[in-house]
Every structure is written in C-alpha cells, then in structure tokens.
Symmetry: C3
Subunit: 456 residues, 3 copies
C-alpha cells in the first residue's frame, strides 16, 4: 500500500473540485467513447459482486473496456470462495494482489467497501454496500444535472416517491446540498425523508427544511406534505414564503424513485397506490423545463407514455454512467491527473478494543464479517458524546461511556468525557455491560450524573 493509493468508498472521498474535474473528463469520454482505449491498456479491473447487479456491473465493465483495459468478473461471489468461509479482507488481498489493478465491489453488508479498502493493495470502488452508499450512482446523477443544466448550484430539484428507504435518494440529497442545490421533497405518503437524513443535511450543510406549497406540481404532489430544503437562510427566503410555505414555481429536475419494496418488510405499500408520473403530471407549468430522472430499474412509477417526452432523460442518465465511471477509473488507476486537490484525508476510525461492538446495525460489515474486522468509530460530538460506526456510518447508541484508562464509566453528557482520549472510549448499552467489563461508575461530582445528563 502506497500513500497515494486512493479508493472511492464514499462520495466524500472526492472534493467538490475533483468532482467538477471528473465531469469535464466524462464530457471528453462521452464525446468520443471509443477514442480513449489508450488510457488503461494492460490494466485489469476485477468485478467482485457479492450480490447480483447486472446494470452496475456491466456499466463498470464497459467503462474499463472503453479505456482499453481488461476485466475479470465474479458475478456471483456468494456461491464460490465465500462458501469456503473466506473473509472479505482475505479475498481483496488476493484479488488485489496480482490479479487486478482495481476492484469494483458490490456487497450486501454496509461498510463492506470501507473494510475492503483497508486491506486491498489496489484501489477499491464501492459499487453499492447494502443500503449504505453507491457513490458512482450519485456521481452519475450529479453528472446528468451538469450535462442537462450546465450547473448544479441553485437548481431546484424535486425528489419524489419513497424517500424513506431509498439509499440512492439519500446520497443524492447530501450531494445536492453539498453543491448548493435546493431540494423539494415530494414523498409518497408515509415514506417521508427520515429525520437522520434531515439532521445530517442541517449539521453538515446548513440546510434548513421549510414547509413547501407544492400545488403547482399538480397531481404529483396532491397527496404529499412537501418540504423545501435549502442552504439559503430562512430569513433570506421570507420575502418568498408565506403561511403556506415556499411556493414551488419552477422545477429544474424531477427525480423519481421506485418503491423499495424489498426493504419494506411486508405489504406496507401497495404498488397500485404509489405515485405515478403520467403525461398529465408532466403538463403542469412548473415542470415545463424539468428533466425527469430515475435511477432505474423502474416499475410503474413512470408511465411508458412519457418515455418519448424529450424531458425524460432516464435512459440517457443510465448511459452517462459509462463516461463518468471511465473518469473514476482513470483517476483511481493513476491515468488521469485532474489537476486539483483531493479532499483532506478522512479521519481514521478509532478501533474498539474493549467491550462489545457498539454498532447497532445488524447489516453492518462489522457484524456480518466474522473475521478480520475490528469495530471502529468516528467521533461526531464531544458533549454530549456522539459517535458513528466507522464502517456503516450508523450513529452508535449507548447509555454509558467508559474510559479504558481510568476504568470509570460516565453518562454521555459528562463533561469529563471531553478529556478522554478517543482510543480509550468504551461504549456500553447499560450499566450491567459496563460492570461486566470491570468498569466502575465515575464519582458523582465528576461524571456529570448529578447534572442529570445520563439515565438514572
């Protein structure tokens, strides 16, 4: 592993400037798809797919071939070595050893790509890790706005449908906020954008949700409580909003999502009642210029009668996945110098060496991979203490926090925790767990319990 080895685990692994430079590179690839076979000759990409995803896999493989490289493919990893009990960490060390120059990984466990990147001797590209991240999909979506609108900042983008379970839409929302676009949430009733997404939008990007008046969106929004998410300060908006909220007047892009029925865990939603984009939905004035996007595959949420509408760009959107993936491959393989700065390195996760794995996510790779994973976290706040799993990004839930140096445990709000070294922190779900690990309660005067910041 050299210092300059780069992975694409999360879209945050790329700076905004890099993303813009990738768009410029993708423009060149798209203009002449067969004219760049001299970029990666002799290089090999390995597709390691632990769950099938033909579309994503073929898009990457096409991109690598267009760059003049070769491809080796394991489209059904579950049924092979994995069944002999091999860990993901071992697999990427072997496949990244001499077999390939880059690994494209799809895995059902959240955080799998982060783990793979820790061990792989070659760049790892996250092609989807469970419901966590799928950065090249997000890049592709942004790239489409760039191509269709020439910019992303200041655009008004409607996100419609199942906003609760769609990984794609959450990642896209973060990315839109990062690029300064405004978001209109038009959820299927009962499938609103989750609080933790709104929270992150607020904390990271200063995005404030305000009530939206979506009557001008016509029948598309008739059933929804629309929300406008904007990085502009509410006081700046006061001129344009009244009691009914921000009025949606002109939409730049409408992003539809399918119902994520496989994650609903039951008949929560009948497909018949799902939002459906039809010819008449597209006839309203506010959508006159809106491009219609969809990450595909679609089912019935977009009627085929609007496939021929020039505003429907979802098939172009998928096609543009190839040049943007060519740009990513060229960057990670060291064959394109974008000429801009990479982002500051992501803070390393802190290994959890004492106590149980504090990640509450059963789909996290730190829980599903039984070998070679040391749970780890990143700090999100000091008082009260907040932390995220370093693999799946889920916020840790705990009632008590120990210090492995003093052997004391504290309520998360205790001021004393401010002084504990991160690698000394231990997370406990209850007092019993703390005591079982040999920890003692901190003195009342020091641990802040008297301040009422912890459970009684």
């Amino acid at each position: 592993m050299t210092q300059t080895l780069r992975h694409l685990v999360s879209i945050d692994d790329l700076s905004v400037e890099e993303i813009r430079a990738l768009f410029a590179a993708a423009d060149r690839f798209a203009a002449d798809p067969r004219g760049h076979a001299d970029l990666c000759p002799g290089m090999i990409s390995a597709s390691l797919f632990y769950e099938p995803s033909t579309r994503t896999r073929l898009s990457f493989e096409s991109a690598m071939l267009r760059l003049g490289g070769g491809v080796i493919t394991a489209a059904e990893m579950k049924q092979s070595s994995a069944s002999k009990g091999e860990s993901l960490a071992d697999t990427v060390r072997v496949v990244g050893g001499a077999y390939s120059d880059v690994i494209v990984l799809r895995h059902p466990s959240e955080g799998a790509a982060r783990l793979a990147a820790q061990y792989s001797p070659v760049p790892v590209i996250n092609a989807g890790d469970g419901a966590h991240e799928h950065p090249t999909q997000t890049l592709c979506d942004l790239y489409n706005l760039h191509v269709e609108r020439g910019r992303i900042e200041g655009l008004d983008v409607v996100l419609a449908g199942d906003l609760k379970y769609s990984r794609t839409v959450h990642s896209f929302a973060y990315a839109l906020a990062r690029f300064g676009a405004n978001i209109v949430c038009v959820p299927q009733a009962g499938f609103e954008m989750p609080e933790y997404v709104l929270c992150r939008l607020r904390e990271e990007f200063g995005v404030e949700p305000i009530r939206a008046d979506a009557r001008r969106l016509g029948n598309l929004a008739s059933d929804s409580d629309a929300v406008y998410l904007t990085p502009q300060k509410p006081h700046q908006l006061s001129l344009f909003t009244d009691a009914r909220g921000w009025e949606v007047e002109h939409v730049d892009a409408l992003y539809m999502t399918r119902p994520q029925t496989e994650r609903h865990g039951g008949a929560e939603l009948s497909e018949a009642s799902y939002l459906r984009l039809e010819k008449r939905s597209m006839a309203v004035e506010s959508l006159r210029d809106a491009v219609v996007m969809h990450p595909l595959p679609r089912r019935d949420e977009i009627d085929s009668e609007i496939d021929s509408d020039p505003r429907s760009i979802y098939f172009k959107q998928a096609a543009r996945g190839v040049p943007i993936r060519m740009a990513i491959l060229g960057l990670l393989l060291g064959r394109s110098d974008l000429g801009v700065e990479p982002p500051a390195p992501r803070p390393e996760g802190v290994a959890v060496r004492v106590g149980d794995n504090p990640c509450p996510n059963p789909a996290c790779i730190s829980r599903t991979e039984t070998r070679h994973v040391t749970p780890a976290f990143t700090l999100a706040g000091r008082v009260p203490l907040r932390a995220h799993c370093a693999y799946c990004s889920r916020e840790l839930t705990f009632e008590w926090v120990g210090c492995s140096s003093t052997g004391h445990y504290h309520a998360p709000g205790a001021g004393d925790l401010r002084r504990v070294r991160p690698d000394h922190l231990v997370f406990f779900t209850d007092r019993g767990a703390a005591e079982a690990c040999g920890f003692k309660p901190a003195a009342r005067s020091r641990d802040g319990i008297s301040a009422g910041s912890g459970p009684a």
Copy 2:
C-alpha cells in the same frame, strides 16, 4: 435509432444475396481466425442471456474477441435486474445506451428479440427466443453446406429425428427451401414435421411434399414414413416417382436432431427407442457422400463410434459458428460492407389497441412481458382474414373480427373485411368478447354470415 440500424431477429432479415456474401466473409475469417482483430477494436458486445446457453454465448463472445472487440456478459439475467421487475424494453435501452455497441439476446419468450429490436438503440442479434427463431444457428447450418458442398441449391438433405418440436430443424427447413434445396423428412415415428411448417413451406416457397421411398436409407428410415419436400413441380418429378413415391438415392447431407424431451411435456418418447445413427447406418450406398450434421448437444442419437468417420462434420459444424458470427457482427456493427442489397423492409406489425391480446401463444413475449408491449399482428390473408402475431409469428385464432371504426364485428370470411383498415381490425374469440367491447354484429347482408363463412 438511425434509419440504417439493422437487427438480426429472423433469418428473413437477410436477403439471399447477403447470406451468400456473409458466407464469403466467413470463409475469409475461417482462413485466418486471428487476422481480423482490426475490424472492431473499441467496440463492445453485450451478451444478455435470460436462460443459459453456454455454447451459443461462448461462440458469439469468441467471434467478438476475434474481431478485436470487447465483451460484457450477463449469463444469468433472470436472477438480477429482472428480479427487480425491470422490463426487457428498459433493459435493452440501458444496455444499448452506452454500455455496448451490439446486444446478443437469448430469452425464453417467443418474440423477445423482436421486442428488443423495437427499443434497442444498437443492433440486436437473436441468439434464440424460446422455440421461435435462432437465426445464427440456421446461418451456421447453411454455411456448413456451403463449405462442404459448394452450393445449397439442388442438394438433397435428410432431416432426421424429432421433426415435431425442434425449432432448429423448422428454421433450417425454411432456409433450405429458400435456397432451393430438397428436403427428405425422416421423422421419428410420432414426431413428424408439423402441418404448419409444411403449410408455410408451400405458401412461401412453393414446396410440395410428396411421398418418399426411403428404403435405400437403410435402418435409419425403417420405421418412418418419409416425405420429400421439393420446390420442383410434381409434374416435373413424375418421371422419377411411382406409387412408392420419390426414391431417395443419393443424400448430400444428413441432419440429425436430438429428442427435444424438455418440450415433450412427459414421457412421450423413451430415449431408448429414438433413432440412432450407427456405423451400419452409415454403410448404405445412399449415404456414401453424405455429411452428417447435428446442431449439438447430442445425446445418444449419434453413436460415438462414427465420430471419427470423415463424413461426421458436427464438430466442424459447431466450429464454423465462430466465423459466421464474426461475419454477422461485422455486418451489423457497420464494419463490413457486403456490397449487396438488404431485403425489402419487413412489414411493420399493426398495433392491437382494442380488445384482448389476440396471440394464442402463452410463451409469446406479448404475454410474458407485462410492461411496454403492445400486442401487434401482421396480415397473412384477406379472405378469409388471417393474421400472425408480430412477435412470435404464431397464427392468431379468432372467431370474429371487428372494425373499430364502424363498431361492427364480422365472421373472418366476410368480404366486407377486405375494406377495413388494418389498424381498425379487432380480433375476438367469441361473440361475448365482441359484445363486451361494445361491438355489434354486422348486418347479415353485408357480413357474409348468410354465406355460411362464419360460425352460426
């Protein structure tokens, strides 16, 4: 889609002159298989296989690699995107978008390739659509005759075995007739060539079946009622036939087929009783020069003891699938100009916009694909009215025909139907269906019922 975009859905998409030119191209490829890698560099073929067919897939992929192109493969399509409910129409629009320059499609539904060709932005090659067509197999079979015999016209070709269920043998029979070859049918008892195949041979190619005396074929034909199919007029043959029928004297090629047990739907045929080509079968004088062909895989219908017989060309036959597929790929990718005229464009199917899907075939793509398929038909005759499904080519079965303009329905034999515009035709299985759609019976004097041409 450009005007010049060409597909290979059916062998009828190629003119006889083109096929001859493809043979010449294949000859050049076969002479120097590795000398043509400069033909399609930078181009990508996508194998979309909705059912496994390793032989066909590898043959196409080898052909593309030999042309210098790249290949992306979905060998098990059913288990991936399709399981998320994606339609074939959407899949080919995505994969043909920027992923690939040509799509090789295998699908269990009849007519699937026709549907794919309607939507794909790149050429579609039908690599088998259920029991319907497999044009490159037919081309390969013809090409083998061309190589082995130097011509096809006037050859006497024996088709032996399961002539009832073998798609391969039906397509080959049409192609032989088109090229002016004579066919000797030597069916397994009970597995005779179906009437609809004989009917099409007669209607399209003027081929008349006459009884054949196959005693000179020895034990191969001992159990069969052989039939001779020839484009020559029976009166021209009268000099050579007597009460026992046309005497089979000299065979140019013997085409064996395996029992299509997967389509027999039960223990209709024990394998032990199936025709079996053995050393002694090949000893008869009439087969002295006959090449032995088989589309493979074989089971026991050709004894391995004749594998080393120089007349056994079935392995060469399979090998020649590569150069002929190279020729097809070169043509459809626009890299070979054959210098001859393509056939007249196939008549477009007429969309069925009123009433139920008139196609009676449960395996037709118009029935199995639930999205984006509008049933369609092509007219085969006016009085009585006859029509075929535009996807699977199956003849429509109906008792009444409506006119969506007048709102009347007629018996198929009604002379009035002659004047109905094709896009106004509606097909009904019974009066009830017609009435349910709001159609009324035509007046007796005009609809020909009084002439007794419809059901009472």
Copy 3:
C-alpha cells in the same frame, strides 16, 4: 490434433528442467506484469468451470489478459449445456474447435482433465479435477519456494494440518520429493498423511519416512507424531538421529492447510480443536527464517495477527499464481520456447474393453461421465499384478485377472500373468464376475493358485 499438442493435466507432464525454465519465465513476468501483452494477442482462453472456484478462475483469466489474450468464461457449467446431457468429451471438442486456443478446466470428477485432453483439439489445463490434481497450484507453491529461497533441493519444509484429505498437500509432497526437498509432516492428530501417499513417495522418489523429534517446533507440533520424509538414505542420517528420531532444528517453509471439512463427511473434527498458527507459534527459534505458506482460503488456522509478519507470504503466494500461470499459458500456446526437453511421453492408458470398469473410485470421470469414456488403466507392477486407473490414478482393486485371449482367469500373483499382453488383461472383483464374462479358472499348475498367491 497435432503431435506437438501439449496439455497440463498433471505436474508430471512437465520435466524438472521445464519447471525450472517456467520459474525463470515467471520471474520475468512478475518483474513487469504489464509488459507482456504482445505475447498472446488474438488468442482466446476458455474457462470451463463445472464447479465454482473464483480464485483459480480469476488467476488464470488475469494471466491470459496480461498476455494480451482474450477470455471466454463459463463459470457455472453444470447449469447450462451439461443439463441437456452433453458429455465432457463433446463439450471440449466444441469449445476447443474454433472458440478458444486453450481450455482451462475445473471439474468435480477425478480424471476429468485427462479425458478432456484426449478429445480436445487445443491444450487443456487442469485447474482442479476433484480431489485428484491441481498442477498449477503445485507449480505456484514450488515457485514460491524458488522465489523465497532461491532453490528447492535440500530445503526442510513443514506440512501442517489436515494431511489426510488435502489434495494440495499430497501434490505438493510429491513435487517436493521430486525436487529433492525434505518434508516434515506435522499432522492434525487423526489426519496423518495417508499410507498411499507415503507409498508413492517411497516407490517413485526413494523417500523414506523416519520418526521426527519436533519439540523445537513448539506448540505447533505438541499434539502430533511428526514424521520426516527425506530422499537421503537413512544410513546417511544416522549421525543426526537418535531414538527420538530426526530432530527438526531449522525450517525453511511452513505450509499450513485448512481442515478439508467438506471431505470429512461429518463432524469428524471440530474447528476449535484444529491447529492454529499464532504469534507465539512463530516465536520459536526453529521457525526464525521460515516462510509461512497457505494455499488459501484460510479460516482460523492462521491467526490474522501474523498477517503482518514478514515471514507470512501467503498473500504473495497467491499473487505469484498469476506470473506462473502466464508462463504455463505461454508454453502451451506455443508462444514461449523454454529451450529444454519435455518429459518422456506418459505411457498411454490401456483401454478396458471386456468386463466392468475396474476403477473403484466413485468420483472417477470413468464412472461419472456416462458417454464417450472407455475405462483404461496403466500397469504399476507385474508380479503381483498392480494397475492404476488411467484417469483418476486410483489403484485398481481386484481379486482375479483374466486374459481375454486365453479366456482364463488368474490370481494377481500368478507368474503366468507376466506374459499376458496388457490389452488382454481383464480385472474381476470375484470369481462370479469372471465366470459371468465366460472366463474359466486357469489350470492350477499354471496360475499360481497352488502357490497361495490368490484368494482361496
């Protein structure tokens, strides 16, 4: 098939000199993995995998791509043509026809690669045939010793773990003996090296097992009865051994194997009790210089805490599979002239044309492949008569031996058998089988029964 067509079915298909030359070629490939794409342009390798083995397949495919060739892949052969009943012999004749220039075959039946080589028009590489052989794995293991130690002769190599069921370890043991290395067997208790392996080591390579004193191996060997296998004559060793056996003082390489639980057929061995290589195991003086090898995948038999130990080379070992496979492909495709002599041709198997298949191995291809396999054997000894299956190498078990020329049957120890032509030999499990085939007992005075060499 030309006279010069070569296959790699067994490592014995290569001479020691060739193997050394392959190492030299692999060194060149490893030094510049992307610098050899001009070696096999236009050539195609076909991966035919009748059971999944992602690691092996990707390694071969990477090697072929690095040589500038193309790859066609059937990763799940069982589910495709094979289900239509096609024989392996037919499949390789088709795929080796024009589809590919070399076939890489993985098959669950022992001897499958030998059968494939008989029929294939192009070179066949055995990528594992059941529990039988996997020659490129063995070559890779030897190559690692060559790279790490500069030689193989005279090295002391510890084989540890499940020595009973591991094909890899048996093949490696033969190869070490062939190259003059010494072997220290440190088996998991109950999983000792089988007698037939020791027997072959003695017969072919003059290797004598002597008791070993493995106390200096520390906790690794605490539970085992270690055995030292050396091609040196015991009397030469007498200076260094005493009642406790040869003392293991300095180990050059330690080869760990995983428990082959899939072959144990039950809960014979709990994983918890299996040998486990840990930090403290590696701290003993005797292992100071030992490289740690493992064919991978591993489970828990090597603790991940020693992954970062510079002596742990198992990931490098896997990576070196690519250059050594490049060397093999280059040789078999006729693109590398090693400049040394190939081994004397392997004796042809003698076809068994009378009586039952004498191979006792139910996993042998001669039993699992129902078409196109004639059982065959090679003679291993004349008095008593001993023979091996020509496919799976298993020793034939029989009670009586017939001569198809005289119609007599004899006890295996009968001197008369010395004069019987090999192709006249017929093997019987009992008298009944012999009599059922019409054979008669040989006269007492001539068949040696009176000498007590056969069953009563």
